[in-house]
Subunit: 383 residues, 2 copies
Amino acid sequence: MSITAAQGFRAAGATAGLKASGSSDVALVVNDGPDHHVAAVFTANRVEAAPVTWSRQVVSDGRADAVFLNSGGANACTGPRGFQDAHRSAELVADTLGCSATDVVVCSTGLIGEFLPMDRIEAGVALTAAALEVEGGSAAARAIMTTDSVPKEATSTRGGWSVGGMAKGAGMLAPGLATMLCVITTDAVVDAAVLDGALRAATTVTFDRVDSDGCMSTNDTVVLMASGASGVPVSSADLTAAVTDVCAALARQLVADAEGASHDIAVEVRSAATEPDAVEVARSVTRSNLFKAAIFGRDPNWGRVLAAVGTTGAAFDPSALDVAINGVRVCRAATIGDDRHLVDLAPREVRVVIELHAGDATATVWTNDLTHDYVHENSAYSS
Amino acid sequence: MSITAAQGFRAAGATAGLKASGSSDVALVVNDGPDHHVAAVFTANRVEAAPVTWSRQVVSDGRADAVFLNSGGANACTGPRGFQDAHRSAELVADTLGCSATDVVVCSTGLIGEFLPMDRIEAGVALTAAALEVEGGSAAARAIMTTDSVPKEATSTRGGWSVGGMAKGAGMLAPGLATMLCVITTDAVVDAAVLDGALRAATTVTFDRVDSDGCMSTNDTVVLMASGASGVPVSSADLTAAVTDVCAALARQLVADAEGASHDIAVEVRSAATEPDAVEVARSVTRSNLFKAAIFGRDPNWGRVLAAVGTTGAAFDPSALDVAINGVRVCRAATIGDDRHLVDLAPREVRVVIELHAGDATATVWTNDLTHDYVHENSAYSS
């Protein structure tokens, strides 16, 4: 169900021939209202794809009627022609639905540096528009997959209203958004400003804290639409909580499906002076190739954790650091702690807890291990 | 010859039993004067090893008589006992040579989080002191190897004076020093302040621009000693040029020997507004796992170059970027340029040139590709 779990939305996925595999590759999500509020966050990468440039304009007035997505081509680094293609995609959707092109968000994912085959995009718009249905969420979620091994969907149902979401992403996850496309829907009655605040609060503590390989994409987009179809007015706090739940569930699925990974690693920093300090320290560990390779080798190499922590500017006394890996405090006061051989790194999920002894703040950043398969997939696949 | 190419120095390497392999693992370099000037740069990592803490104190007065180095153990994250062991190593050397312990620099490299076996260190001091000779440079260079496949040595001989250097390092190379130990000697007549300036100028444009995997070690140390034994007074500019030559040659050897690498990659940023901008952009590319994996796969994936460039704060117009890989301008004005199939990525050396069109500054940062062997070596070796 995912995005069609919320009332007032229809969705579809179809095959337009963009992927060599013949899998479905275009998706359409339509908000039938009565409200047509939208909020979105986009990649912070200054080299942004044409659909991102287009969609920033679309959402700037807080209204959108539909989101059209394609896999099989990123339409990034395609210059003025790429922007014209993104604009044209929105026009095709608008003509079909009878709305304005400036109310159609467009998202693309796939190989950078190639033009979209617009004849196939045109066919894809017609196919998805014809297939729209109130149970179409899962078909849409499948159509946006690239190297994903499974579709990602999540819902949160509250008292008479719901939030639903779908996402694609299986690598190039990084802060300032994982490389990903994500569409979230709600039938709550809220205004556009509340929607925007809820989305930013949710992504800051979920997608922004997933860091598979430190690389930030040109196409990252998270769109949240509200239809008001439930008729239930919802507070900002309740909406934020529900959107955060859905984003957290989707983010966890992204980590679990990261290309070639054999471990999902939660790096939790405790007793930091501030939350930004905690995030900075956690991020430095999740970006250490040496640490990530050690986890792949099931080596509880706490020295590499400390070496990464030491590169940060966070407040801490370097002689007061503690590190626990899967419950074993292998490092106490920055020196040798409990026997490292007690650490069991066989399970897929790994938890590293770092105590800075500098305050009360905490943060957790997720990443994956660095594996042979990661290198293989990312050396063989042009994206 | 390397460090003993300069007059006034003796060196030795010996086997103290620190390495399971039975290879030589302790080295001693002695400055017989008449001058005993020293300058050094150390890791910027706040989690610094005990020998770094010790040696910072030793060089603070600009005088050192000897450098004692061991492989087979980093003496990092070893707390107060580790510092006592570093101090004790210096005392053992000082007693043997008849100098002050506070004039003995100590360097260690190897596994983090284990105490040094001080009985073997004591034996190693005696063995190296007994083996000191004016042609001992190469034996010392071999003794400091860890995962290095070859020793690294370089010399620069000028009119009547010389600079010689040795280094170890084959992974964990990062700015703010590659993870490495390096000893440089000169017989030029210079004062300690000039020595310090020359060393900092040289490392900034050499070791600081080598970035194998973005990880910064706890033990990085570069020591430069001047004996004055040539009797030739040398200007600051001439000394800086010669030290830079030696550092550049050693840095290039470190890149060529990086663990598991199959390509050496020079990322050159041109037409930047400032040199720091050029370095920031180059560094963002050398830290992109996706880009590095693509080069391993011989895929001239310029989209990943642009995606990395776009994450920086450097001055440029995102629609005006050009990228050439091995001479083929695959990206012009941030979109599709010449045929990517023309790029030959078979040779080990790869040159990526990025034009920012924002000014006249330039910088080159070296890195390696991300390979199966990198993952293998760093998942199997505790360090």
